[in-house]
Amino acid sequence: MSEQGEGVRTLEEQQEMEDKVISPEKAEEAKLKARYPNLGAKPGGSDLLRKRLQKGPKYFDSGDYNMAKAKMKNKQLPSAPTEKTEITGDHIPTPQDLPQRKTSIVASKLAV
């Protein structure tokens, strides 16, 4: 660590400050990293894309559910995580996860 007075900034700090002034995008990135320090560095990576490929509500599968329950006889079945990062088939939907049943099909309100 070099000895510096309070008013002197390192080159890196200065560059970072300039970046924030020049680029609102980089300022937003800093904000995001401050809120979510565990966020991966590669946003466009395969995790995000695979989540996109898998969009769609998962339904309750009694076979999967009972097998998972059998495996964890003594432990509690893990409750459904609410984050959207769940992308693989590892998550066994539980009855609490089920989306509400769809209402019956009626005519479009545009056709009135």
Binding site: S46, L49, L53, T103
Partner: protein, 438 residues
């Protein structure tokens, strides 16, 4: 150009049922018909009424012509996943005979619908009564020829072809070829070529699925056939690139003929760069010389002869660049906006938030921000241009960035192929505007 309110369709109440969310809007090739698809799998078709000659200042109105349930929710038992009935795209076929045809697709299945009119019915059967009961043949002593008599117009929609089981991933685009015999369907990783007559076979023409899914870096976001050259199509990606492919070169078009990409200054790169560069829509110009792409913040126009950068770039809502953090948190940064050309390719249009939509007049270098709202919906009311205030002092009539309603998105817009009539979809309402007729 000044725009006037013409009509608005849909419910007024704020409580929007999910099924009523409009998911696609498309004029047919003459502009006489306007189709909408929604999240509930329903299609509503409006028809332009013949102009009322007594009121010269009134442009024709669009009224309901036909409505039907195109897709129903399905269940994939193998993956325990529901297949949404939401209509992702509608594309009309050019009219060949009295009936109209359109392709509508959800995530997995494309359907060809025939919409036909019936305005006559036969009367005077020999063996049947008028109510349909069969007559006792022994009582029939004379023979007569049934005649066709006029009846109230009945519009019938029937599914003529169902193209299923060809897509593992979610279909985002369909595009009818100019040859009027084939069409393409694109999902996140693959593009298939179909013959409109054949449902049990389709050819895979693009496959970007990596051998190891961990190596997945980009997905297909949109695809379209060239309007005039039947061998050419383009597809856009989540990384902001567009590939133009020529089907004459090889059966599998994994190798592009042209790659359109604007180079990026690496020092400007941020966490959000790739996400906001993802192209949500690609549309050829009517004359086939240009194509337009929409990414999160801008609309770009590309000359097909120049791959290294667009010829025009228009900022849709640049003020959002300093809001990317919250837009990422509320998922709005992943919203897929569409864009469209006017009939002579001189103006382009796209949607934004707060029920604003943007128009860019290419030659005049003019742009406008307009709003689709019930408050500006008096007949023939001229739309006032809107302005978003980015700096400190907000002028009267301006709206500040923080007051924008990000739940009011205009993702789908359409422009009449010949006239200045536009259809703008808010969440659950369809607005029709026309230019001011003097």
């Amino acid at each position: 150009m000044q725009w006037c309110f013409s009509q608005v369709k849909g419910a007024i109440d704020d409580d929007v049922a999910e099924a009523d969310i409009i998911s696609t809007v498309e004029f047919n090739h003459t502009g006489e018909l306007l189709a909408t698809g929604d999240k509930g799998g329903r299609v509503v078709i409006f028809q332009q009424e013949v102009e009322n000659k007594n009121l010269p200042q009134f442009r024709s109105e669009y009224n309901v012509y036909s409505t039907f349930q195109s897709h129903e929710p399905e269940f994939d038992y193998l993956k325990s996943l529901e297949i949404e009935e939401k209509i992702n795209k509608i594309r009309w076929l050019p009219q060949k005979n009295a009936a109209q045809f359109l392709l509508s697709t959800n995530d997995k299945t494309i359907k060809l619908w025939k919409i036909s009119e019936r305005d006559k019915r036969p009367e005077g059967y020999n063996l049947k009564e008028e109510d349909g009961r069969y007559r006792d043949p022994n009582t029939i002593t004379a023979l007569r020829v049934p005649i066709l008599i006029p009846m109230d117009l009945m519009v019938e929609a029937s599914p003529r072809r169902v193209f299923s089981n060809a897509h593992t991933y979610h279909i985002n685009s369909v595009s009818v070829n100019s040859d009027n015999e084939t069409y393409l369907s694109a999902d996140d990783l693959r593009i298939n070529l179909w013959n409109l007559e054949i449902t049990d076979r389709s050819f895979n023409i693009v496959d970007i699925k990596p051998a190891n899914m961990e190596e997945l870096t980009e997905v297909i976001t949109a695809a379209e056939f060239h309007p005039l050259q039947c061998n050419t199509f383009v597809y856009s990606s989540s990384k902001g690139t567009i590939r133009l492919c020529d089907m004459r070169v090889s059966a599998l078009c994994d190798k592009h003929s042209k790659l359109f990409e604007e180079p990026e200054n690496p020092s400007n790169r941020s966490f959000f760069s790739e996400i906001i560069s993802s192209i949500s829509d690609v549309k050829f110009s009517h004359n086939g010389r240009y194509m337009m792409t929409r990414d999160y913040l801008s609309v770009k126009i590309w000359d097909l002869n120049m791959e290294n950068r667009p010829v025009e770039t228009y900022q849709v809502h640049e003020y959002l660049r300093s809001k990317l953090c919250s837009l990422y948190e509320n998922d709005c940064i992943f919203d897929k906006f569409e864009c469209c050309w006017n009939g002579n390719d001189s103006v382009v249009m796209t949607g934004s938030y707060n029920n604003f939509f943007r128009m860019f007049e290419r030659g005049q270098r003019r742009d406008a921000t307009l709003e689709a709202s019930r408050e500006n919906s008096k007949p023939l009311q001229v739309l006032k241009p809107r302005k978003v205030c980015t700096g400190g002092k907000r002028k009267k009539d301006e709206i500040s960035v923080d007051s924008l309603d990000f739940n009011k998105k205009i993702l789908h817009t359409a422009w009449h192929p010949q006239d200045n009539i536009i259809a703008v979809a808010t969440t659950n309402n369809l607005y029709i505007f026309q230019d001011k007729v003097n």
